[in-house]
Assembly symmetry: C2
Homo-oligomer: 306 residues x 2
């Protein structure tokens, strides 16, 4: 049994008010699998890079026990590259460069050893690629979590809706939920989106936390108020990876475990933003993670007698 | 012992995407005292109206046991009048009319019977008037809560800072906290503001809930996700009134009780926005209030084993 994460593995060059990086390893699958690896030890990724990606670039993943058999390395091609600059408030950014490179013809090949997939995380990619992965798995995974973004709503809504129909959990941010549903109220938006296929919807609100919807149930998760956000890159992917990694660990899918999974995902995301790129995610101790979880408990607990 | 609430008692004319009202009774002290009256039965207001304010306009307050001895009625003058129109998203509004009228020369007279004041809510008014009320109380109240807004930061920051120095709890929204402190991060903003005098800071984030800061402690309170916000007018004042009313009821000021007070204030605010003006606040049953509180408990509770 395993957790498969599909998404980008890429180079990023990031500029924030605190400094800037050269090309560093990034990508949704990188962040998500590192996060998941803190809770579950059978994480496998499906992704593609060029031969500019060196063995040592992959070491960080392998050191975390992440299976990279499904990571295709394309000879003579270059890896996906993204460069961006964050504004002073860290809530908005300009994309400076996007070079699709190997991503342009990405055909997600599923190694035979991945066919034991029980948990599937579809990181943000074209809806067609996400769908192809589902179809290439001989058995439908027990849980499929899908991340997506406004870009696909703008240019290929039909494909997106078709893929959304096939998943169990959809994670999007608040403005994407509004765009997808055409409803301003997030409660109304969620109600509509839950008729499109997914049983669970997570609406990410950045520094305002996240909302989980299932049927008529709602859970509101806080975000940890941070004195300094050093680099927000990958926080959403880290959240999703921590979320599904925790669920893979506990093995039972229900609303209560989803709530906890959101707290675990949020905790890892709160680490992610403390340094550039994946730096902070590479070497977290068990104590650091459980300490951060306790901060979330303290942050939102109150006791009112019924 | 009593809870004194100072603020506006006024006429409002409100337009939302759902409809519009004639002149209806509004004002910060109206909303706050109605909210507080659900938890504490010795609420007294200090405010001023003109003689366009009729006995039946005050009945709503008196029916809730609110003492209006400190409500001055100015013969030959008109009450404060505000008219506004909310946009489709309900998060922004245009002020159409502001007529200060009686408010222009408001001298807050404290009746002798109010000198038993133990809890003081300074609703949004000029910092000078707020300060005058503190000075006219012979004994410093056990708890002073102050609400204010960006307008006073723009035009009379010095007076504002002087008044802030005298209070225990300051309630402002996130953009006001940033303006007051010059810090974007709310954690840094709070740290700075807590050196200005108040022991507690509440940062209101509207549909994203509220944050409570004291020393190094932070509490993140959720907002109830609502399918429909009918009229947001007075929600902040209702929150503040419910907050201090609950504290007056329990009588002990500490971080844990403040957390509960924020939940109670939020619950009443969530009722407030369900109808125009104070309509929903006039006739809440005990069951409705306790049911709403339980919704907040359910909304944010999770159980992670340590």
């Amino acid at each position: 049994m395993s957790l498969i994460i599909i998404g980008t593995v890429a180079f990023d060059a990031i500029e924030t008010p605190f400094g800037k990086t050269e090309k560093i390893v990034g990508g949704a699958a990188t962040y998500a699998s590192l996060a998941a690896s803190y809770f579950y030890n059978k994480c496998k990724i499906v992704a593609v890079v060029g031969d500019d990606f060196k063995k040592e670039d992959i070491d960080g993943l392998n050191d975390h026990g992440i299976d990279t058999e499904g990571l295709q390395v394309k000879a003579g091609e270059k890896s996906f590259f993204w460069s961006g600059k964050y504004h002073n408030d860290m809530n908005s950014r300009d994309t400076l460069i996007t070079e699709l490179n190997v991503l342009e013809n990405f055909d997600p090949i599923i190694p035979e050893s991945y066919q034991d997939c029980e948990y599937l995380m579809l990181g943000n990619l074209t809806p067609q690629i996400q769908q192809t992965v589902i179809k290439r798995l001989k058995n439908r995974p027990k849980l499929i979590v899908m991340d997506t973004m406004n870009f696909w709503m703008d240019i290929m809504m039909d494909d997106l809706l078709e893929t959304i129909k096939m998943v169990d959990v959809l994670t999007i941010n608040d403005s994407e939920a509004r765009q997808l549903s055409g409803e301003y109220s997030l409660v109304k938006a969620a109600k509509k989106i839950l008729t499109m296929g997914p049983k669970y919807l997570i609406i990410k609100k950045g520094e305002h936390g996240a909302l989980l919807f299932q049927g008529d149930q709602i859970f509101s998760a806080p975000a940890l108020p941070l004195a300094e956000v050093f680099d927000p890159t990958g926080a959403g992917d880290t959240f999703a990876g921590g979320f599904i990694g925790y669920l893979a660990k506990v093995g039972t899918i229900n609303f209560n475990n989803m709530k906890n999974a959101i707290i675990y995902g949020s905790a890892l995301a709160s680490f992610c933003v403390e340094e550039f790129g994946t730096a902070r995610l590479l070497n977290l101790s068990e104590e650091e993670v459980s300490g951060r979880i306790q901060e979330f408990v303290k942050l939102s607990a109150f006791t009112i007698e019924a």
